[in-house]
């Protein structure tokens, strides 16, 4: 018995020995596999006829509805540009990876994008918890990280700490300030309740809103994303006597909150931030959650106030929306154009413009430099200008307040611009909202 085991182990021992010898041999002159080629690799992902960019989005899982349409829209626009000759002769290759809104997966797919697909830049990566898992890595490795699809302050308030990262949509604090001031001026008697997502979204928003509404706020309720029972929160707002609810929440929670308040017989005026107010999506969610008791379709959010910072689908006579319709018709996939696709197309447009601006010699450093120096002057569908510069990498500076009605919306204010902190809220004078895309649909 003992002898048998010994015999069986001999090959194992031999393997160990030969493996050791083998690995010792490696010390000689092998010189493959040099890993990351230090900082000279600033043209990673760029060739004479191609530039590869990447993004992480939730394509599967609970966060996927709505958000998975953003990359579809962006891809349609890139295809449109490619069909017209690309940028400086380069075709844009757009690689989208699914992170299912899980930060661990975001790290995984970002490594895949950086090491396997060798992307030149990350464009439009979605989500605060997800993107914050990779933002340091992107900055450490010198990868441009443009137009993060989230309104967290983190993407732009400290360019020294994150020199490669640039925000895109208006940050939550600025948005809440604009909403807060509007309420304070136009509804000074309203008893305000805040309905907040319990993370940095709600936190930044509360900070902004309190600048103007400290006296008027009667109740603050927070929900945890993922917990679908918002009964206690809505009952809390009802109990506090709030007759105007400011919601800083995602679309699913707009629907849930509406549904619960209907069943409680609570009918406050709703004011939902831009994040949670996509009328078609909320409408279909309402129908789904109520198991058909609420009819799907437009009009689910009639009378609700919200903000907008890019023209949306209902504004069919806006030249930008007309461009998006044309792009979708020519290069879109199945399905109809939606506001999420427009969102994707809008940041795709900004990227193409930046790539045009950098010129023929495209490097990562060159792109970031261009964004800091000239990013503020980028055209595009956004209603207010970007805030890019050496002191701030925050995105769009303002928005207008609208009331939703049927398929469309009614403007309540002109475009208002502001910034984080004590910055004043002023009417936008840049004329950004009135521009139109060039005839070709491709920035020059």
């Amino acid at each position: 018995m003992k002898r048998m085991k010994q015999v069986r182990l001999t090959p194992v021992a031999a393997l160990v020995a030969s493996a050791l010898v083998l690995s010792a041999c490696g010390a000689g002159g092998r010189d493959d596999d040099d890993g990351d080629a230090a900082d000279s690799g600033s043209t990673v992902g760029v060739t004479d006829d191609k530039v590869t960019i990447g993004a992480h989005f939730p394509l599967t899982g609970v966060a996927a509805p709505g958000y998975n349409e953003i990359p579809t829209g962006a891809r349609a626009y890139f295809d449109f540009v490619n069909a017209n000759g690309g940028v400086h002769g380069r075709q844009i290759e757009y690689v989208v990876r699914d992170d299912a809104y899980n930060p661990t997966n975001t790290t995984k797919v970002t490594n895949e994008l950086l090491l396997q697909d060798e992307i030149f830049a990350m464009v439009g990566g979605l989500g605060t918890p997800t993107h914050s898992a990779v933002v340091d890595q992107l900055n450490e490795e010198g990868v441009p990280d443009l137009f993060v699809s989230s309104g967290s302050l983190m993407w732009g308030d400290d360019p020294e700490a994150r020199p490669m990262t640039f925000g895109w949509q208006p940050d939550y604090e600025s948005e809440a300030k604009i909403i807060g001031q509007y309420v304070a001026e136009n509804m000074p008697d309203a008893k305000v309740g805040l309905f907040l997502q319990d993370d940095d979204f709600g936190e930044d928003a509360e900070k902004g809103a309190r600048q103007f509404l400290e006296e008027q706020i009667v109740g603050v309720e927070r929900y945890t994303s993922g917990n679908t029972d918002v009964g206690p929160q809505i009952a809390g707002l009802q109990g506090a006597g709030a007759d105007l609810v400011l919601g800083f929440n995602t679309p699913a929670y707009t629907a849930l909150a509406r549904l619960v308040s209907l069943s409680l017989g609570y009918e406050p005026q709703w004011f939902v931030s831009s994040v949670g107010s996509d009328s078609p999506l909320v409408g279909s969610l309402l129908a789904e959650f109520s198991e058909g008791a609420v009819k799907p379709g437009a009009g689910a959010l009639d009378g609700v106030m919200t903000t907008e910072y890019i023209p949306t689908l209902d504004q069919g006579d806006d030249p930008w929306v007309q461009l998006w319709e044309r792009v979708w018709e020519e290069h879109g996939e199945k399905g109809d154009l939606s506001n999420y696709k427009i969102y994707g197309m809008s940041h795709a447009y900004a990227l193409v413009q930046a790539l045009q601006g950098v010129g023929e010699d495209l490097t990562r450093e060159g792109l970031v430099e261009f964004m800091e120096e000239q990013g503020e002057g980028l055209d595009g569908p956004q209603l207010a200008p970007f805030r890019y510069g050496t002191d701030s990498h925050l995105g769009i500076s303002g928005m207008r307040i609208v009331e939703l009605e049927g398929r469309g919306s009614k403007e309540l204010t002109p475009v208002l611009v502001t910034d984080i902190g004590d910055a004043e809220i002023t009417e936008d004078t840049s004329g950004q909202a009135d521009d139109a895309p060039p005839e070709s649909g491709i920035p020059e």
Binding site: M1, K2, R3, M4, K5, Q6, L9, V12, A13, L15, V16, A19, L20, L22, S23, A24, G26, A27, G28, G29, R30, D31, D32, D33, D34, G35, D36, L59, T60, A64, N68, T72, R75, V96, R97, D98, Y101, N102, P103, T104, T107, K108, N111, E112, L114, L115, Q116, T128, P129, T130, S132, A133, D136, Q137, D198, D199, D200, T224, S225, E333
Partner: protein
């Protein structure tokens, strides 16, 4: 000579030898592959460590845990809190040890509760753990960072590791390579400990409790204590896995520790083969590489992004169903079965008709036991039978 053969014959020496061989293979593999594969391998190691702990708990002790993701979270958060910035002075080994201890402690608490429960009640209690622990991170957002989590600053590779890598492979050690090396070292160490433990008296007690608690009790085993100890060992493995995961992902966030993670661990155990450490390794490998591979195939086949991404969970589900239908013993069970059959055929060819009956694989015996008992002994018998005495 006699002494050497006794040494080689001992379980410990055999496991040490396999571990050393494993280490060499790992170093060679990590040298040969790209940086991205290193990252994937590191991720696979994390999954495998936790699955190894779970397979010991479920396969050897018969307790089901739906909460191992939460125990990993304990390890991850402990590591994250101990490595707040680049200047963190706690040595890495200590950080990992503390993480393991914290998870073991939590495991002991849960284990005490779990020892009183069985079947669906146990599943329910551990399920509650999986749901509650990520919630803690949201509740104590000041210290635990809320939804956004705590960034982890992985310490850079030490000088000796860089020198050794250059000496052995003539290439520089990348940070990802270093982390992958750490994760695999932890994997090999923890598998070594788990393998030894399950072949020892403790392991036999666990099996006795799994097979028949009443009989075990009658034989003088304190069933409760045995169950708690199994849970603690398993939790320690989960803690080590979590600690490594913190270094690999460089973030501790509640979004990483959903119920899906706990279920993934169970899936790895089932796919690989319940109760076998090799199986846990196979299962972890499958779950790490399959989704990316399938998505890539989908993409190459011209599917759009969303469709290609949706392909991965679909194939995952199909593979799961197929494995359970066609290979209830898991992948390792299939391999082991094939090996045993081949041996049996050889023995047959070598003559001896009755030998074929005694070497027929016994489907009921957990794969792990094969090393020590019945089949090993049978084989000795068959091969020596024909030899002149």
């Amino acid at each position: 000579m006699e002494r050497i053969s006794r040494l080689v014959g001992s379980t410990l020496a055999r496991h040490l030898l396999v571990a050393a061989l494993g280490m060499v293979v790992v170093v060679m593999a990590l040298t040969a592959v790209s940086d991205f594969r290193r990252f994937q391998l590191a991720e696979m190691a994390c999954l495998a460590i936790a699955a190894g702990g779970l397979t010991v708990l479920t396969g050897l002790n018969g307790q089901l845990s739906l909460g191992h993701g939460a125990l990993m979270a304990v390890g991850t958060y402990t590591t994250a809190l101990l490595l707040p910035d680049r200047d963190a002075s706690t040595p890495l080994v200590l950080v990992v040890l503390i993480s393991v201890c914290t998870a073991t402690l939590v495991g002991a608490l849960v284990g005490v509760a779990a020892a009183r429960l069985h079947g669906p009640y146990l599943a329910g209690a551990t399920l509650a753990l999986a749901v509650a622990v990520p919630g803690l991170a949201l509740h104590f957002r000041e210290t635990l960072g809320g939804e956004q989590g705590i960034p982890v600053v992985a310490p850079p590779p030490p000088g000796w590791a860089e020198d050794a890598t250059y000496f052995l492979t003539a290439s520089d050690l990348t940070p990802r390579g270093w982390i992958a090396f750490l994760a695999w070292s932890t994997l090999i160490l923890s598998f070594l400990l788990l393998a030894n433990l399950s072949h020892s008296r403790v392991g036999r007690r666990w099996r006795a409790v799994r097979d028949d608690p009443v009989a075990a009790e009658l034989a003088g085993i304190v069933v409760g204590r045995s169950r708690v100890s199994a849970f603690m060992v398993s939790a320690a493995a989960a803690g080590a896995a979590g600690s490594m995961l913190a270094l690999v992902v460089r973030l501790a966030a509640p979004g990483s520790f959903t119920l899906a993670l706990s279920l993934t661990l169970i899936a790895a155990v089932v796919l690989g083969g319940l109760g076998s450490l090799t199986g846990a390794l196979l299962g972890a490998a499958l779950l790490t590489f399959l989704p990316q591979f399938v998505t890539q195939i989908g993409r190459d086949a011209g599917l759009d992004d969303v469709r290609a991404a949706e392909l991965a969970p679909l194939v995952y589900g199909l593979v799961m169903v197929l494995v359970i239908l066609l290979a209830p013993g898991g992948l390792f069970g299939v391999i082991r079965g094939a090996l045993t059959r081949r041996r049996a055929r050889r023995a047959l060819a070598a003559r001896s008709v009755e030998a074929s009956t005694s070497t027929r694989p016994d489907p009921d015996s957990p794969p792990d036991e094969q090393l020590t008992d019945p089949s090993g002994d049978h084989r000795t018998a068959t091969t020596t039978e024909g030899a002149p005495r």
